[in-house]
Symmetry: C2
Subunit: 151 residues, 2 copies
């Protein structure tokens, strides 16, 4: 658990290492960046979901590869939600993201921590553990979407 | 160099671990996936370029973080170029991608190898090495764009 916590901490630190405002030329790029990172992450997460839900055969190696990618990608999108990036390209991001920054960031950090656990679960090769970790990670996605994403 | 080669090999293996056709529900998703992965990679690569070209101050830690992300992301887009993904969403991908598969794949593998070297160069904290590796990686991007991307 200590190792996990350390990884989660380093992920969170990496995600916020550089001020968001300095990272993108324009708001449009920041929005496209976060949407792109979330889309790629969603594709890989969905493959784990298909295995967890019995819609695809369980392939321990593929699950591990996908979970590792998810854990890496989960660090990225948040830098794309910097000040002034509420507009500039079509987006479902709710304005509350920029007024409830601490809460939004907490949910982002939660996702980071859950994806680290997901990758650890995938590494065990145990489908039961993968299912449980997938469920917890999916809850973490949903918590943020329910609060901060328009339908 | 042996360690580098081993990493490059494992990256290439990971990139082709699962048949592309099985990975996406529809061609549109595959196209969006590869575009998204390339866009996110391009953003991080651009930050290294800004340092390499003197447009941003050299920050060794940021360079290393960005290069690590680039090396991870460079593995992903190629699965999105599977059979039948030449159409389905607006794309600049040329049809030759699907008729010159071996050549396209070689260029993709080259990029993977160059990004691994870029990450190793960034790790040294030496701006000169970073500049050289950035230049080689950029050439690798351009080789593929010149051959396989419409303007």
């Amino acid at each position: 658990m200590k190792a996990l916590a350390a990884v989660a901490l380093s992920l969170a630190a990496a995600a916020y290492a550089v001020p968001a405002a300095a990272q993108f030329e324009k708001a449009e790029d920041a929005i496209k960046y976060r949407q792109s990172a979330l889309f790629v992450m969603g594709q890989h997460f969905g493959r784990i979901g298909a295995m967890a839900n019995g819609k695809a055969p369980f392939d321990a190696k593929a699950a591990q590869e996908n979970a590792d990618i998810v854990a890496q990608l989960a660090k990225l999108p948040w830098a794309g939600f910097g000040p002034g990036t509420d507009k500039g390209r079509e987006t479902r991001a709710k304005p509350e993201i920029w007024t409830e920054h601490a809460k939004f960031r907490e949910l982002a950090d939660n996702l980071g921590a859950e994806t680290v656990k997901l990758a650890a679960a995938a590494k065990t090769g145990d489908l039961g553990k993968l299912k449980a970790a997938f469920g917890e990670t999916a809850k973490s996605c949903k918590a943020c979407h329910d609060n901060y994403r328009n339908k």
